[in-house]
């Protein structure tokens, strides 16, 4: 019988084990499934099992049959521009909230509403608002001299991806705003007062004191938000279905199309591994550049 001491020593791991084992089962199955089938030709419409071993064909086909390179470019563009816009707009709003004028508390509480919506619901909202005939936004923009393209902002190859980014920015800027505002509240006022006494200009205080102190929070927010944008599926699905053509197709939507519309399981499996590798590279690069400096 194990004595009290061994139980004590093993307890921490015993408590974590159920969640880790459960999650491992949940993620290793799909990854192993994808790895095996990425070397097999398998279309679900032709049969419930893989048809034949096809070597690296699936990996080649990812680039030849699907617009993988375009999807990767769109995904990265959406991720970088979206995160950038949301961070700085959110920062601006956080600074406005931080003036503590009367009514700011109420506004802060109401501001979070877009973020509470399911992304598909946010998609519906803007599909309605952007409807080329009868939508409120094209009507308003035409009124101030910016007519929408005839197919609408979502139907035009030049504006579709950009519009998806704007809708995501609408939904998630409030998230940045209230979290950065919470960060501003946690900054010790004495540091700022000392700088004020030294005669520092407001913008200089922002760059040299506020921003560096917000860095840990900002680094965390930017990482999770960039990845959520990178995974964009719901909004793309509702707003454009990746179109027109492939103008707004993202990696996630590309996977969905091949896997759950065309039922090309083998090809999807190969694409899955390419995406897993890309995501791992991005996350590790990010962690390397952001957290490297904190060593000293």
């Amino acid at each position: 019988m194990p004595n009290r001491y061994t139980i004590q020593r093993r307890l921490p791991y015993l408590l974590i084990a159920p969640s880790v084992l459960f999650l491992l089962a949940l993620i290793l199955y799909p990854l192993a499934f994808a790895l095996r089938n990425s070397f097999w030709f398998w279309n679900l419409q032709m049969g419930p099992a893989p048809l034949y071993y096809s070597g690296l064909d699936n990996y080649r086909m990812v680039f030849q049959v699907t617009p993988f390179a375009v999807a990767l470019k769109n995904t990265l563009l959406l991720g970088f521009l979206g995160t950038f816009a949301q961070f700085w707009l959110g920062m601006g709003i956080a600074l406005l909230l931080h003036t503590h004028l009367r009514g700011m508390g109420l506004m802060r509480a109401a501001l979070i509403m877009p973020t509470t919506l399911a992304p598909v619901v946010a998609g519906f909202l803007f599909r309605y608002l952007l409807e080329p005939k009868g939508g409120l936004l094209p009507w308003m923009l035409a009124g101030i001299g910016f007519p929408a393209p005839p197919q609408g902002f979502l139907g035009n190859a030049n504006t579709a991806l950009f519009t998806i980014g704007l809708v995501d920015t609408w939904q998630w800027t409030p998230f940045f705003a209230i979290v950065l505002y919470a960060g501003l509240l946690s900054i010790n006022e004495e540091i700022k007062e000392a700088a004020q006494v030294d005669g520092a200009a407001p913008w200089r205080m922002f760059w040299s004191i506020t921003l560096p102190l917000l860095r840990p929070i900002a680094a965390f927010l930017v990482m999770i938000r960039f990845m959520q944008l990178f995974n964009s599926f719901d909004l793309v699905f509702v707003l454009t279905s990746g179109g027109p053509g492939t103008a707004s197709r993202t990696l996630s939507f590309n996977l969905y199309r091949e896997g759950l519309v065309n039922y090309n399981i083998g090809l999807t499996a190969a694409m899955t591994w390419l995406v897993v590798i890309i995501v791992s590279v991005i996350i590790n690069l990010y962690l390397f550049f952001i957290y490297r400096k904190r060593e000293w």
């Binding site: 999650l23 799909p30 003036t99 509480a109 509470t116 598909v120 919470a182 927010l221 999770i224 996630s252």
Partner: protein, 276 residues
């Protein structure tokens, strides 16, 4: 606090008004759409005042009410996913909060990497798996696979709450003869109860708003409300009144829960990393 000039104050309020109109206007306009008669969905110039029409809600939820079962499915899936995640997350969060152990940081980062991984990568193999084990379209399939998000999230958030329960209280209970398990249920659970409730509420909202899992793993009779709303596009062309009515019902629970969460919103949205 520095006093602001009258002109500064006016500028700040003007900017804040624009901000509020930009972020809340679209939601307001969409809620109005749900109460408009279908023939008035596209009236321009826009009508702010009109005779409210309840037909959209009656059609979708009462008679014939095709979306009412989807509402029930959403409740079943979100509640199931939340309840299933709690025991796993509670044990792991307690352990990570209370013990010094090797690899703790690695495990915490591993949980977060699951949260930010692209879900679509997992969903397609699950789709095949579910039909092989006879769970095609079943609630269990969605509830179990949603754990890839629910457990890591709950572990992070619960840990942040447990970190705030003083170790002294627990140690006092041990001195009084309670063993670790008894102390856990008598001290930690009651003191971390607010955290437990907050975590459950967030897990519920995230599961409620999730579309990728039910889109791939549900069948017509088990599909959830947000997915049901999407199907309007596929079927008879865009019928905005019905879309708006179902979407408004789908957006209400998360909105109400966020209002109730109040000061915990920041903490929940950042998985406990930022304490609001």
């Amino acid at each position: 606090m520095r006093r602001r000039s009258r002109r500064d104050q006016v500028t700040i309020y003007a900017l804040m008004t624009l901000v509020m109109i930009f972020f809340l206007g679209p939601i307001f306009w969409f809620i109005l759409l749900a109460f408009r008669h279908p023939s008035e969905a596209y009236t321009l110039p826009p009508q702010l005042f009109f005779e409210p029409y309840l037909g959209n809600f009656i059609d979708t939820f009462i008679d014939p009410g095709n979306n009412a079962p989807q509402l029930l499915s959403s409740v079943i899936v979100s509640t199931g996913a939340t309840l299933l995640s709690l025991p796993f997350a509670l044990a792991a969060a307690y352990s990570l909060s209370r013990f010094a152990m090797r690899g703790k940081e690695f495990i915490m980062n591993w949980y977060i990497s699951l949260l930010i991984a692209p879900p679509i990568v997992f969903v397609i193999p699950y789709f095949i798996l579910m039909s092989r084990i006879g769970w095609a379209g079943a609630y269990q399939g969605m509830i179990v696979t949603l754990q890839t998000l629910a457990i890591p999230f709950s572990v992070w958030l619960l840990k942040s709450f447990m970190d705030e329960v003083p170790v002294d209280l627990e140690e006092a209970a041990w001195v009084d003869g309670a063993n670790r398990i008894a102390a856990f249920f008598r001290i930690i659970i009651p003191l971390a109860l607010p955290g437990l409730i907050v975590t459950s509420m967030f897990t519920f909202v995230f599961s409620w708003n999730n579309v990728i899992f039910p889109l791939a793993l549900s069948k017509q009779s088990t599909t959830t409300l947000p997915v049901g709303t999407i199907s309007f596009f596929a079927s008879t062309g865009v019928y905005w009144g019905h879309i708006a009515a179902t979407a408004v019902v789908a957006m209400l629970p998360p909105m109400i829960i966020f209002l109730l969460l109040g000061r915990y919103v920041v903490r929940g949205l950042t998985f406990g990393a930022v304490k609001g």
